[in-house]
Symmetry: C2
Subunit: 169 residues, 2 copies
């Protein structure tokens, strides 16, 4: 059990500049009412939980594509998040983007919170390559998803977990 | 001339929680090498400059659509930004989203940094309505742009400037 005072201290420490490394192991208030939207669950493979978000790999081998879902109930817009959650989401989005770029050596990153079809707040972090199936258009609706084979999927998940600091959990 | 020490103090103050109001008038290091990509200039109407970003209105009356461009040279990815710039961009993106929602009473916000066609880092903040020309698909490439008439354009720009705290500048 972390007291409110200690928790506030952790939050204050986390929002100071130069403390990027802390957020992955930071403390986030749990939201027991959160449950992942069934469509997001159906289209993805779980990677792991960061302080705020559940990290998912889109089961589409056409593009390296992560989806980050804040574990908060009933949030649909970025501007609905509490300030500290918003900051965590920014940092976790950036960590996902760096990890994806580092693993895949993609040419461009696409980062987007759309939510027109699935309203539950989720952020897409997609590694794009010149010549991928949708390039230079956005990926949504561009090509039918191609499921990963088990070996590639497992190797990718392992590399993602290592890159996000989730390897030992 | 602001000394480095004073500047750091301003930066430190800006990244504390609960100081959201400060960023609009905050101090940002100028980047004299910045120039707006000609394609972004051609497709938009300038709204004004926040601490970090140039705010543009896409000249497409199909959707209320802002584009925020950090005034930094040679930056293409969110993760290329310095920590303080990244934080400013998050806050200015949220301010743009709140302003757009407040003015247009849109049903959903779409926020995205893609940059596949124009590499200069820019963030789209788009107000979506159920039944708009692309709904529920993303807007890019969905319908030919429809230029604003002068009266609607000028009224919208005025409301945006007021919402973003740029009215008196």
């Amino acid at each position: 059990m972390v007291s409110i005072t200690a928790w506030q201290g952790l939050v204050d420490a986390r929002v100071k500049p130069g403390h990027d490394a802390e957020f992955l192991t930071g403390f986030a208030m749990p939201d027991t009412a959160f449950s992942l939207h069934p469509q997001l669950a159906a289209d993805t493979i779980p990677v792991g939980d960061l302080a705020l978000t559940r990290v998912l790999l889109a089961n589409d081998a056409n593009y390296p594509w992560l989806i980050l879902v804040p574990r908060r109930a009933s949030v649909t817009e970025l501007i609905d998040l509490a300030d500290n959650d918003r900051l965590d989401l920014m940092r976790e989005t950036d960590a996902a983007a760096r990890t994806l770029k580092s693993i895949t050596a993609c040419d461009k990153l696409n980062v987007a919170a759309l939510g027109n079809v699935v309203a539950q707040l989720h952020v897409h972090v997609i590694g794009r390559r010149h010549g991928d199936k949708a390039w230079p258009k956005p990926v949504w609706g561009a090509a039918p998803p191609t499921a990963y084979g088990p070996a590639v999927r497992d190797g990718f998940i392992k590399a993602l977990r290592r890159g996000l600091g989730l390897a030992g959990t």
